[in-house]
């Protein structure tokens, strides 16, 4: 059977998904990147290989996420696309009539507006990280609540506390103040969800036409309190798909399938790449006052790719 692999390497998590010709998800893998994208991808590939039946053949690979270029070189991806497109493609595969996609991850959040299956507008948080998962993570620690229990706790709230959500630091001092005046933990947790939703809609979602059906994905979608807060604020149903946490990888796999239709042949290097010795190193170029930080990727001690320079002096490898 022919299958397609999608790899999404983000700041917090690395996700892999394998789909068949009919775009059905056969297997998925979710692991933490831990700041080491190469190791995470190799670990993911190893796990994935174990899960897949031997007769399956990978016919195409797509990479996405903030480490998409590095991953693309590592695994030999047929298509390297930004996570915005991958998430939109993943969501419209699941719900073809989708009009709005909310994606909230660990360090960034995006809104994608889709009309008739095509992305027409998008926005990402640029200046501030207050509207992301790390905001909730941080406050959960502060409250002594496990992030996994956060959602269920929020649903138990009777009167959510209003918390200023513009800035993580101000939210924290506001939250502590509310704690001191006797608000219950449930109410505060629900209040934090609402603060995040307000922040998200006012910053990332500013000026965007939010219409149902709305799909909510990314790591934060696991939080039931967030789904409820979105629904209350918008008055529409918010759909959290089954594979909400690996939608980017699914999208990348679908994009790989689309690419293979044209190119016919995959560049996939095989699962063996999980055993190859890949390294990265960086140096500061002193050729001009820009002092660009150039990154080199080495395969078996040989430089196979470079990036990070503004002028392109290093990017093109001498052959």
């Amino acid at each position: 059977m022919d299958t397609y692999l999608g790899v999404d390497v983000g700041s917090i998590s690395t996700n892999l998904a394998v789909i068949d010709e009919k775009k059905k998800v056969l297997a998925w893998e979710y692991l933490l990147t831990g700041g080491r994208p190469i190791e995470a991808v190799q670990r993911g590939l190893r796990e994935m290989e174990k899960k897949l039946a031997k007769e399956l053949k990978i016919k195409g690979v797509g990479s996405t996420g903030s480490a998409r270029h590095l991953t693309g070189i590592l695994v030999g991806a047929d298509t390297v696309k930004s996570e915005i497109i991958a998430h939109a493609v993943g969501a419209s595969q699941l719900i073809p009539e989708v009009k709005t996609v909310f994606e909230i991850g660990g360090q960034d959040s995006k809104i994608i507006i889709v009309r008739d299956g095509v992305v027409v507008d998008f926005a990402m948080n640029t200046i501030c990280a207050a509207g992301t998962g790390s905001f909730l993570d941080h406050q959960a620690q502060r409250l002594g609540v496990l992030i996994e229990e956060f959602g269920d706790l929020a649903l138990k709230a009777e009167a959510p506390t209003r918390i200023a959500g513009r800035c993580t630091v101000f939210a924290e001092s506001d939250m502590i103040h509310k704690q001191q005046t006797g608000h219950t933990t449930e109410n505060i947790v629900a209040g934090l969800c609402q603060a995040l939703v307000r922040n998200y809609l006012n910053n990332v979602g500013k000026g965007k036409e939010i219409l149902p059906p709305i799909v909510f994905q990314g790591g934060v979608a696991a939080n039931k309190g967030m789904k409820a807060a979105f629904e209350e604020e918008l008055g529409y149903e918010v759909i959290v798909p089954e594979y909400y946490h690996v939608m980017g990888a699914i999208g990348a796999a679908i994009l790989a399938q689309e690419t293979i239709v044209q190119t016919k042949k995959t560049r996939f290097k095989g699962f063996e790449v999980s055993e190859v010795d890949y390294k990265t190193r960086s140096f500061e170029c002193t050729g001009c006052p820009n002092l660009c930080e150039v990154i080199e990727v080495l395969m078996d001690r040989e430089v196979i790719s470079r990036w990070g320079d503004r002028c392109g002096k290093w990017e093109v490898l001498e052959k």
Binding site: K81, V118, V119, D121, I127, N290, G312
Partner: protein, 368 residues
Amino acid sequence: MKVTFPHMGRMDIFIKGMVKALGMEIVVPPTNSKKALDLGVKYAPEFVCLPFKLMLGNLIEAFERGADTVIMVSDRGPCRLGLYGLPMQIILKNLGYKANWLILNTPHALHGLFQLGIDKDVVKYRDKLTFMDGLLAFHFGWKKMLAIEEIERFSLKIRPYEINKRDTTKILYQGMKAIENADNLYDLKKAKNGVIKDLRNIPQDRNRRPLKIAIAGEIFVVLDSFANLDIEKKLGELGCEVDRTIWFSTHILHHLGLDKFMRRSKRRAIQAARPYLKYPIGAECNATVGYAALYAKEGYDGFVHLMPFTCMPEFVAGGVLTRVSKDYGIPVFTVELEEHSSQTHLMTRLEAFVDLLHRKRAKKRVNS
């Protein structure tokens, strides 16, 4: 007397050309770089816009190289650029740099020129040079500027077709150097024609159908490739034919009222913005809005709007652009630039924007 000035795009070419012809001494600050930016960020107020920080960095670097007289552009109106000179004067004075200031704003300029006029060094030049020398010098600088703009414009047309990535950019940089080094009009013309020929000879795939994208917004970040993170080159390498709406020459011509018959003049853009903005907001705001409408009518696929973070006029334009985008069906992508802007973040969004435009075009083709 050693005159210096802050950078704005390739304005230095114009000034250097002019000064070269006059035989005066100037200190050109090193081109905008991380160092200039770091210096500017260190001494500028935190929420001031990116151009201020870069210009301040330029001046500090120039003073370290012995400059003692500053020529500073200025403007009236809501853009903060008009007021840059005064706070900069205070900041630099507090840092211990002593300098003469010539702020080019109507009443101040006269005052400044008067001050410079009594400076002994200037008198020395004034006795040697005639009015005609000045005119010829201006003409030479202007021609250099136009030559640079011509090759830049041409490179934008070639880049989306290049087969080997970065070919165009490499030749463009070489070409800029050659034009900079030209000593007279004959050399200048020869250098320019050489670059155009080299650009034309780049291996190209003419079967491509590049997306057409216009870039507009606040003048400094549109003109300065360091400030806008080389967005033109990035878009070009993603396969887009880019048209820049503002050039140094068109800006000057507009202010002199000489752009009446130009097809894509600022004047026309301001008129095109009339249905949305009935009175001038200031700076490039009205023009930005109008350009979106003008380029949409010409069949452009997308519109990129550049602004420094905290820029008031462009912030207004950004709001109005959502309406223009809807009315004309042209996707608009706004980039707010500041010292923390990251290349990777911009790249992610640019790739997504270009993808969006490709898919939109593919769909249009299916429907028609």
